[in-house]
């Protein structure tokens, strides 16, 4: 590979966590920068322009969300927020402040790498056209022809169900908050989170073989939904 390796800025005050992140990321061909507090994170993000920022919200010197807001004033590099499970409000606020995605501690290496790949792909695609066809395992969505297949069978969706699916396809692999989906699918203030949940429920019964154990359309509890990233 001759291309410059992608750089990940890891922001976490715990040495043990930075150490394994460096190992996992370098093993996968990324260059790694480390910051152990918010001030250092802001300096490195400005000076070295990383391709992805992995930001732990619990920083010793400033609120992680404040650091995120300040970064968002001058960089559009994807930011993946890291926080402990059960801090759902932190994650929602992080997404509202411009984070691209989040990881809940403890997380697996596969999950970490998948999030980073999705974030990088998105950042590149902003300049290009989106992929016209999404496919993940047995699900295929053709955004141009507006058609959906499950295996060999074509799936009929209502216009709203299709709107939900295509909105998730455009963000494939990435969490989309309830708030964002409500904004995308309905005119301002004309719907409720319940209506969205019912819509997801119905859509799942069309595009999943076993809707109780979905393979494609996953729920991120209290935050939103995620359509699995398209197959490489």
């Amino acid at each position: 590979m001759t291309a410059r390796p992608k750089t990940v800025l890891v922001v976490d005050d715990e040495t043990a966590i930075r150490r394994f992140l460096r190992a996992a990321l370098e093993e996968s061909g990324f260059a790694v920068l480390e910051a152990f507090n918010g001030r250092m994170a802001l300096e490195l993000a400005a000076a070295r322009k990383p391709d992805v920022i992995l930001l732990d919200l619990g920083l010793p010197d400033m609120d992680g969300l404040d650091a995120l807001k300040r970064m968002r004033e001058w960089t559009s590099a994807p930011v993946i927020v890291v926080s402990v499970r059960s801090d759902e409000s932190d994650k929602i606020e992080g997404l509202d402040c411009g984070a691209d995605d989040y990881l809940s501690k403890p997380f697996g290496v596969e999950e970490l790498l998948a999030r980073i790949r999705v974030a990088l792909r998105r950042a590149e695609r902003v300049r290009e056209d989106p992929e016209p066809v999404y496919s993940h395992e047995d699900l295929r969505v053709d955004l141009v022809g507006r058609r959906v297949w499950l295996g060999k069978k074509e799936v009929r969706l209502s216009p709203l169900q299709y709107a939900l699916l295509s909105s998730l396809v455009r963000n494939a692999g990435r969490v989309v908050s309830q708030k964002q989906l409500l904004k995308d699918l309905w005119p301002e203030g004309s719907s409720t989170p319940e209506a969205l949940r019912i819509l997801v429920h119905q859509t799942r019964h069309r595009i999943e073989r076993d809707p109780v154990r979905p393979r494609h359309l996953k729920t991120e509890p209290a935050v939103g939904y995620r359509l699995e990233a398209l197959d490489d």
Partner: protein, 344 residues
């Protein structure tokens, strides 16, 4: 009785002191001004916070004033009927002062108590988040490190992968236990506000199953959740924890190739959800004991006895209930009900 008796003693002393003061100033002041001195005594006793002694002081004040100063002095006889009015006014003012003083005192005590308990609550929750951080950070590092090694091409060896997977899976189990422990503490502190939303139960059960992908590997899960099942108000994060615990419990106690059955139906104004296994069943006597904290079935493997206690606490906080029974044909069965309407 000791402290109250002391208060009465103080009341007596206050009346005595007031009388002494009155003797000292009586040559220079009008007679009715002396009544004011006794009111000071009543106020001082009322400030100490006991109702009886301050009434007692008021009464003593009137009597002393009458006996020592109102002519004819050193008798309880009253020469001029106008002094009866003075006594009455003096007594009522003393009572009003005691009552007001008393109320101010209790209010300020109440305020202080609230402040102390708010302080304790703040301390508890900051301690909880510190403990949570301290326990989860090393677990994140262990899970991540084992995962990184599994991801990298290793030196091989027959048991290399197996042992790394062991480290990772057991650390993940420990992480779930820590999560349970922290949630129990949070629920017990009574500080948990349910964030109820109308949710399809299928979604919550699905998320719980997804969370247990690895422990469930190779295990058949049979679900029967009609698509038309109505929504119910629930805190999705806490209800997910309920199902994670019920399913993990089934996995642990019914080891072997037994399937786990999950079904739900509408029963009157409630949703009824059943999680059942084909394990050895429940031996607790009475059976409700399994929902007690730290209860463990004799001869059972693993489990700190927190999972089912959490299930019960969460379901009951939703206004529902959970029961356990032995299943016909063998195995344990958990039946939980969730009201479909919010009873505010």
């Amino acid at each position: 009785m000791g402290p109250l008796l002391r208060e009465y003693g103080i009341a007596l002393a206050a009346a005595g002191l007031c009388t002494a003061a009155c003797f000292a100033i009586s040559p220079f002041t009008a007679l009715t001004d002396l009544a004011m001195v006794y009111l000071i005594g009543t106020t001082v006793v009322a400030l100490r916070g006991s109702w009886g002694p301050s009434v007692f002081t008021s009464l003593l004040g009137v009597l002393c004033f009458n006996f020592f100063f109102v002519p004819p002095r050193f008798t309880f006889v009253v020469e001029h009927p106008q002094y009866v009015v003075t006594f009455l006014v003096m007594f009522s003012v003393a009572m009003v002062i005691s009552r007001l003083t008393f109320r101010v005192k209790t209010q300020s005590e109440e305020a202080r108590r609230l402040e102390v308990s708010a302080e304790a609550e703040r301390l508890r929750s900051s301690l909880l988040s510190a403990v949570s951080h301290e326990l989860r950070t090393p677990l994140t590092a262990i899970i991540g490190s084992a995962g990184s090694l599994l991801h990298a091409p290793g030196p091989g060896g027959a048991h290399w992968r197996e042992l790394l997977e062991n480290i990772r899976e057991e650390a993940e189990r420990l992480a779930r236990l820590v999560h349970n422990l922290i949630e129990t503490t949070r629920l017990e502190s009574g500080k948990v506000r349910l964030k109820k939303e109308l949710c399809p139960i299928e979604d919550v059960i699905g998320t719980a199953l997804g969370r247990l992908d690895k422990p469930l590997a190779g295990r058949e899960v049979r679900t029967e959740l009609p698509e038309s099942l109505p929504l119910a108000p629930m805190d999705p994060v806490l209800m997910e924890l309920v199902f994670v615990n019920l399913i993990e419990n089934a996995v642990r106690h019914a080891s072997g190739p037994f399937p786990i059955d999950i079904s739900a139906c509408e029963q009157g104004g409630s949703l009824e959800i059943v999680v059942a296994d084909r394990g050895p069943g429940l031996r607790a006597e009475p059976i409700e004991r399994i929902f007690e904290k730290f209860y463990r079935e004799s001869g059972s493997s693993g489990g700190a006895g927190l999972g089912l206690a959490i299930c019960k606490a969460v379901v009951e906080a939703h206004g529902g209930g959970i029961r356990a029974e032995n299943r016909t044909g063998g195995g344990a069965l958990f039946r939980l009900t969730l009201p479909r309407k919010d009873r505010a």
